[in-house]
Amino acid sequence: MRRFKADLHIHSCLSPCGDLDMSPRGIVEASLQKGLDLIALCDHNTAENVGAVIRAGKERGLWVLPGMEVNSYEEVHSLALFDREAQVLEMQTFVYNHLQGTNRPELFGEQVVANEFDEVEGFNDRLLIGATGIRLVDIINKVHRLGGLCIASHVDRPSYSVVSQLGFISPGLEFDALEVSPRTDLEKARKDIPGAADYPLVTFSDAHFLKDIGGVCTEFLLDHPGIEEIRMALKQEQGRGIVEGPCGN
């Protein structure tokens, strides 16, 4: 078993709110500088930059999980994490089929599709900031059917979180974990957020700027990086687990 410092919620320049410096190579270098072993790219309602970040990471020895931050019908954000790019692309097809509108870069920001050499491949013109027409419960179920993990995003935040939108976490929502943002202490979150004590808690940076990558992270004890290993770590099975204590810079 080995310790893996993981930041599994990072945006790229493809997210409308993501800084243009959040290029595939930029993300990989910043992650290595912060001592991260494992990251996930989770852009809003899209995975078109996932492959580029995976390839840029591979070249530099950084493990990158394909992910996406999906916005539900109720405007709840959650992280969908997978092992393979094909899985997240299937999730993307599902999301695109239920996502309407066209981006207006002057209002919401540019949505740059890049390759692993940091070259601009194009601009995504979908309204990625928008809510999909998919109910939260159906997002969670779809992620699970595709073999991924579904983690509720920043549950302590006053907007776009399951708690802000739906008041509390109803038992039918089978999140694998809840993400607490850097602004709230895990102990406080466990005590104050209705329903949080029933789930494993993790904390990631939700970085939109290079300087924020790895600002907080979660340290996992795993045999090797991968979704099944992380699933076991969240459940504290077979020696896998979450290493308590501060992680990040």
């Binding site: 109720e74 802000s164 939108q165 739906l166 008041g167 109803s170």
Partner: protein, 115 residues
């Protein structure tokens, strides 16, 4: 005014919770952020929202609300309907928006404050 009177007055469609139609409407509240509604909605309120997730029924029960109107024609989830039946909280649907619906309720004498 009883919840059932709203149906005729405002041409509402009843989606669930008919056994609660005799609940007394004492106030009104608008909100789609459930944490805000949980903190502020008055007792006996008719609540206008676009949220259709089953948690709205729990929130309505928690705040002892009288009824929920889903605006913009948003239909409730099946789970929401089942919970509303169980709890006897009437769920109505209107194609009107929240602003217009609230205006009509206000004109009919339902204020935002607890009576």
């Amino acid at each position: 005014m009883k919840a059932r009177e709203l149906i005729r007055l405002f041409e509402l469609e009843t989606a669930a919770g008919e056994k609660g139609l005799d609940r007394e409407i004492e106030a009104g509240y608008c909100g789609d952020l459930l944490s805000d509604v949980m903190a502020n909605a008055p007792r006996g309120a008719v609540w206008l929202t676009v949220q259709s997730h089953q948690n709205i029924v729990a929130v309505a029960v928690l705040r002892e609300m009288a009824a929920v109107i889903l605006v913009n024609g948003r239909p409730p989830d099946e789970e929401t309907k089942a919970k509303a039946e169980e709890e006897g909280i009437p769920i109505f649907v209107t194609s009107r928006g929240a602003y217009e619906m609230a205006g009509l309720l206000y004109k009919a004498g339902i204020s935002g404050n607890i009576g």
